[in-house]
């Protein structure tokens, strides 16, 4: 509108700030380095030990990380308690499972359909329910999770209780992981190739994307909705749209993890999507630290690998697992690695000391004197 007032322009900052921290011990840079080292470690690992068992549980663990990063958007960033998150994984797994086994598509070709199905699922569950707050939303999502599982259990196209078998692994334009690959005389079997695929695409892309989203405009909008929804509205943020975005992005990540899982296990059944798994993923996020990327990765690794390490306790292992969780939450109530946490040995920012007298900086001396005069006049 031509008649409307021009918008305010922000003044230029005029106070000197301490320089940004540089060097290897800058928290940001250090964490990136750690991530790189771990990533390289995971790349090298199959050369050290490549038993099918290790590769299989590590692949599952990485799929869990993708899943937990998706839930981190919903629960950690946007603060929406979702007790039926595994349903999105089911949507992704079944969509790709049905399309590959019954329509002959390759896994790669199913991806657009998976994304579409997850967006639709996210909108269907989010659209009508996101006006609800906290507890009510949790109950509705719990119901949604059960609806998806029971539907899958009863439809013919999903194979009923026995599910879908013989899902092919990923293939790209005619070349499949099942063919194996020989590079410089080293043979890479299908499972190892899939391991690398999940590592590079799942961790390399999905994790970084969510971590970055958390820092941008949408990330701030999510966190503001989580911290105080009313105030967030007062900042010009449409809470409904923002929450729906969290749901949709969470759903896409869940569906992608489902597709990976279908390719990994080559068989899916409704049992894989019980409430227990929703609870486990939620646990990974809460235990690790809501909204914290390193935390969620640690949480997902713990939740997926701890039962394996506790295998020797046979039937006692879930009891021990539970005790470990309780202990972890007692000693680290905000998660193992809370958001905003910085390792203690890293460089800290200098915090400028404010001289007490400077607190009256906006008014000049003359103006202050004038105000005092006016006060005295009033008293008279």
């Amino acid at each position: 509108m031509a008649t409307s007032t021009p918008r305010l322009q922000a003044p230029k900052p005029f106070i000197e700030r301490p320089p940004a921290i540089t060097g290897i011990l800058a928290p940001d840079r250090f964490m990136k380095l750690v991530a790189l080292v771990l990533f390289v470690g995971a790349l090298v690992l199959p050369f050290i030990t490549a038993t099918p068992y290790i590769i299989s549980i590590l692949t599952s663990a990485m799929i869990y990380i993708v899943l937990a990063m998706g839930l981190n958007v919903v629960v950690g960033y946007a603060g929406l308690l979702d007790l039926g998150y595994i349903a999105f994984m089911a949507v992704g797994a079944y969509t790709s499972g049905i399309l590959t086994t019954q329509f002959g598509l390759s896994m790669l070709e199913t991806l657009p359909f998976v994304v579409l199905a997850c967006i639709i699922a996210g909108v269907i569950i989010g659209g009508p329910t996101l006006r609800l707050r906290s507890d009510y939303l949790a109950i509705v999502t719990l119901g949604f999770g059960e609806i998806i599982r029971i539907t899958a259990n009863n439809l013919k196209v999903t194979g009923g209780p026995s599910g879908i078998h013989g899902i092919p692994t990923w293939s790209f334009f005619g070349w499949s992981f099942a063919d194996g690959l020989d590079i410089a005389g080293i043979h890479f079997g299908p499972k190892i190739l899939f391991y690398y695929f999940v590592l590079i695409v799942g961790i390399g892309v999905a994790v970084i994307a969510v971590a970055r989203l958390g820092k941008g405009k949408l990330g701030r909008a999510w966190k503001s909705v989580r911290d105080d929804e009313d105030v967030s509205e007062a900042m010009g943020i449409n809470g409904y749209v923002t929450k729906l975005m969290a749901y949709i992005i969470g759903a896409i990540w869940g569906g992608f993890a489902g597709t990976l899982m279908a390719g990994h296990l080559s068989a899916i059944s409704p049992n894989s999507f019980e409430f227990l798994y929703s609870a486990l993923v939620l646990m990974a996020v809460v235990l690790g630290g809501m909204g914290s990327t390193p935390g969620v990765i640690i949480g997902a690794l713990f939740v997926s690998l701890a039962p394996e390490f506790l295998r020797e306790f046979s039937e006692w292992r879930f009891l021990l697992f539970g005790v470990l969780l309780v202990v972890a939450m007692i000693f680290r109530p905000r998660g193992i690695w809370p958001a905003n946490a910085v390792l203690p040995f890293l460089k800290k920012r200098e915090i400028p000391q404010v001289p007490a007298t400077e607190a009256v900086g906006v008014l000049g001396e003359d103006e202050l004197a004038a105000i005092d005069e006016a006060d005295e006049e009033e008293k008279r």
Binding site: R220, K223, V362
Partner: protein
């Protein structure tokens, strides 16, 4: 707009704004809202212009904050109309109203507690940032540019409100006075034409209140209209161009500070009330 003009705040009570006061920004007519049987606001009308400071005063429970909530879209008024910058906004969402150019602060400081000072202020710029989901995921040049600009603008506003602590601290680590400043900076970051301040002076000491007055004048000098709810009469009389007095949800007076000081109805409301309620 520049720094130089902001220092030229008048030390004396401003009765006539002169040429500084611009076009009409906000027009509230016959505003009424009730909860159950209680009429929180029953017939409030006033106007605010560009570069004008209008105070809304009244005893506790007079309906001041309810009126604010109606104007900024948090409550739906039962009757009456609110026209902002030429557009009726009576039943619009708060986020829409903020985008149109009305910002507000809250009675008790309400910052985003899990976010840093800088992130809090950057959140205020939400509607003015040109970046989308893909930009953020891929860290495109557009994303970097908009984040850099956003950080600089946020720091500019923090300097403007005289925030002196570290801007990467969590807001919960700040003393109360600094939190108040961050809240005003965050509201300014939405680039408002009109700013609603709900008791900005509550809990501040004498020095901080003086500084707040200076800050409010500085904002006014940028051409922003300001509506102020405040209990500190000294502060109100000092900086307001006009004062609207509410009692039991009803508007009982509207005038310059001099007129209000001598208004028998206002005096009766303030003095009489205290005796009855003890």
């Amino acid at each position: 707009m520049s720094e130089a003009t902001t220092q030229a705040a008048e030390p004396q009570t401003v009765a006539d704004g002169g040429e500084r006061i611009g076009r009409k920004l906000l027009e509230v007519k016959d505003l009424a809202v009730s909860f159950g049987g209680i009429k929180a606001v029953a017939g409030l009308s006033f106007q605010v212009h560009e570069g004008e400071i209008v105070s809304v005063i009244g005893p506790n429970g007079a309906g001041k904050t309810s009126a604010f909530n109606c104007i900024s879209g948090f409550y739906r008024p039962n009757q009456g109309s609110v026209v902002f910058d030429g557009e009726p906004i009576t039943r619009k969402k708060p986020s829409y109203i903020t985008k149109k150019g009305m910002a507000r602060t809250f009675q008790n400081v309400r910052l985003f507690k899990e976010m840093t000072v800088l992130e809090n202020v950057k959140t205020g710029m939400h509607s003015h940032l040109g970046q989308n989901v893909l930009d953020a995921m891929l860290h495109t040049p557009r994303y970097r540019r908009s984040e850099e600009q956003c950080t600089e603008d946020a720091r500019g506003w923090l300097d403007f409100v005289n925030f002196r602590a570290d801007d990467e601290l969590l807001v919960t680590q700040l003393p109360y006075g600094e939190q108040r400043r961050v809240e005003i900076a965050r509201a300014l970051a939405t680039q408002p034409k009109l700013l609603l301040l709900d008791e900005p002076g509550a809990g501040l000491n004498h020095n901080e209140k003086n500084e707040l007055m200076g800050l409010i004048r500085k904002i006014r000098d940028l051409g922003v209209g300001i509506v102020l709810i405040e209990h500190d009469m000294g502060l109100v009389m000092e900086i307001s161009e006009r004062i609207v007095v509410l009692n039991y949800g009803k508007e009982i007076a509207d005038g310059t500070p001099e007129q209000i000081k001598q208004d028998p109805v206002v005096i009766a409301a303030y003095l009489g009330e205290e005796e009855e309620e003890g």
